[in-house]
Symmetry: C2
DNA sequence: CGCGCCGTAGAAAGCGCTTTCTACGGCGAT
DNA sequence: ATCGCCGTAGAAAGCGCTTTCTACGGCGCG
């Protein structure tokens, strides 16, 4: 049926062991022998049997990347950066060539149980590494389950990296490194910016209430508000609505906020996509951006600079963070001290925010 | 170290064979025995060893999804739909539960060699199925190489499905089914729409010249032009520029077109993202959309409806196509007769196109 | 000149599963 | 009552690799 190692060995007139060693390059093989083997590989169009190899070596070259929503560029950018680090360039068809991995992305849809299922599936494949991107639900039970799962993965030799996700509280040593985003700092910077412009009535269309990212961004927002002496009921809850990370949530959230507080002069959105929805609703209500109402996003996705008006937002270095996570997963880069390195968020002021109407 | 099948067998006081049969559910096992085994699995927190299982059964539960750009929602939507069909809901931690697969997406970046490398990697993993989404480069050598690779995959029992990609010319039987998009028809409909509105000077910011999708959309465009008696030099080449599928290409392409033909009244873009870039450039040139220049996109991605103005475009049922591809890959759905089913494209007229300035 | 070491290659024992083939009761049929 | 079949379970032979352990020349050294 299919070509095996021994077929290659026969053709090259060596033992299977030698072929294996040539392919893995982890044992001295005379140049002439190597040549002969490689030629045989080529002539027979041999492709390594991954499962067999994984079984014997009890490790595979699979690297899993978990994302919440594959259709969201936020994750796409990170996943793509992780994959790029795996350098998928082997050249010869054997799929060998030192350390190159099959980086695969798994779409959890943000659902806790799918997250666990994928983790199990990856554990079952004896994945070499797992990168978890994005936040998770803020539920102790689920956090514990995930932490336990990751601990077992780590035990089995899988390298676990968190990218844009808060460190584990339960089994912190299960992960090689955590690269959380500074969502709180970003949220604070954004709201401070709005406050400095003179805004006092700031709405917030936040993400799903149960997500850690939502909580952190909101905390930053409130910290800024509190620092300006604007804590209390209204700012704290009255002008905050929750919804998923999509455009529709922004649209509906903005309408709801407008209903609650027609005098609103600024809206902070959960992210850039939501901000676009907010803009649409405001425009529909006959409000100009930023003359009548300022709008701010989060993440600085590529389209944000092109929106009309260009979106003020908080830049998260998704690509850089993903790349770093990839290197960490591969072992190319040393983990940060304490295994945690917060990724800074940077305020990017564009055209969608301005001073409020006077009066 | 890790828990094996025999551990479970010992604990349940049965043979390993029986445990395997319970887990795979493809052999009669007495209810009481099954119970006992499942309890043991649970108590030991057993996770199947994928590679071992794949080796013995010579098939794995890995399903690969190849995409050109994971950060592009065009692919994200399809990939997500494919994954959704794999139903990743096993419940118990064993990762068993009939037929549920590990659907993984592989990002080729549109590069022919990465496409081949991923295919090799998947072949090496003895993937159960492979779904190739999106178009490919219009190069006979590469097409032949891919076709050959797919033929070998098919030979080894991997189910190959093409989604939004033209059927193979070389080894057509290697693929189970091809679901190409009607890019030509869509392109024709779009340009016809513009012609009916009265446009006569229509620019085209096309995709990369070497891609099949680009060629097909362009062919549709020219067919419409020719049907209106507007073939020839200008329409055929002078008002067409090429670039990647990103916003920047639209921006620069539009500027170039404006330079070549200031009297331009409409621009067709390679896709919606490009169209956004076109809009930005036009606006920057002081042109209103659609009063001065009409703009049309392609794909109908979610943001297109929200753009300002809302984009006239051609809807491709990405989600439905992906889902169907997933079912085909799983074997849940019968392949279409002839193994090819073209996916229809539908013109969606919104606010970015209108009648040209008179005079 | 002989001893041991180094560089290179082979033999063979698994890795943890699946699956065929065999075994063994208990049942209906003859 | 006996035969054979069905339903269920075990034994054991691999699946195609990796890797340890062993083997074997040729070399430098004593």
């Amino acid at each position: 049926m299919s070509v095996t190692l021994s077929d290659v060995a026969n053709r090259a007139k060596v033992s299977p062991a030698t072929v294996s060693r040539v392919l893995n390059g982890n044992y001295p093989v005379a140049a002439a022998t190597r040549e002969r083997v490689l030629r045989a590989v080529d002539e027979l169009d041999y492709v390594l049997n991954g499962p067999a190899s994984a079984l014997a070596a009890s490790t595979s070259d699979l690297v899993g990347i978990l994302v919440n929503d594959i259709a969201d560029p936020f994750f796409g950018i990170m996943a793509s950066a992780v994959q790029a680090e795996m350098g998928c360039q082997d050249g010869d068809g054997t799929g060998r060539a030192g350390g190159e991995k099959l980086a695969v992305v798994c779409n959890t849809g943000g659902a806790p149980d799918r997250e666990l299922t994928y983790l199990t599936l990856l554990q079952r494949q004896r994945a070499a590494a797992v990168v978890l991107t994005g936040d998770t639900v803020d539920d102790p039970a689920h956090a514990a389950a995930v932490a336990a799962k990751l601990a077992r993965l780590a035990e089995a030799g899988t390298r676990v990296v968190l990218c844009g996700r808060p460190p584990l509280t339960a089994h912190p040593d299960a992960v090689l490194a955590a690269l959380p985003f500074d969502n709180r700092g970003g949220g604070r910077a954004l709201t401070s910016h709005l406050l400095e412009l003179g805004h006092r009535s700031i709405g917030h269309v936040a993400g799903p209430a149960e997500r850690t990212t939502t909580r952190h961004r909101l905390e930053g927002h409130r910290e800024a508000l509190a620092a300006a002496g604007l804590g209390g009921d209204r700012a704290g809850g009255g002008l905050t609505v929750h919804g998923p990370y999509d455009r529709r949530s922004g649209y509906e959230g903005a309408r709801e906020l407008l209903r609650r507080e027609p005098g609103l002069t600024a809206v902070v959105a959960a992210n850039d996509t939501v901000a676009l929805g907010v803009c649409a609703a405001l425009r529909e209500a006959g409000l100009r951006i930023p003359q009548d109402v300022s709008v701010a996003g989060f993440d600085d996705l590529p389209f944000s600079a092109d929106a009309v008006p260009a979106l003020t937002t908080v830049r998260l270095p998704l690509q850089a963070a993903g790349a770093r996570a990839g290197r960490l997963a591969l072992g190319t880069e040393k983990p940060p001290p304490g295994r945690v390195a917060e990724i800074a968020a940077e305020l990017v002021v564009r055209d969608s925010t301005g001073a409020p109407r006077t009066g």
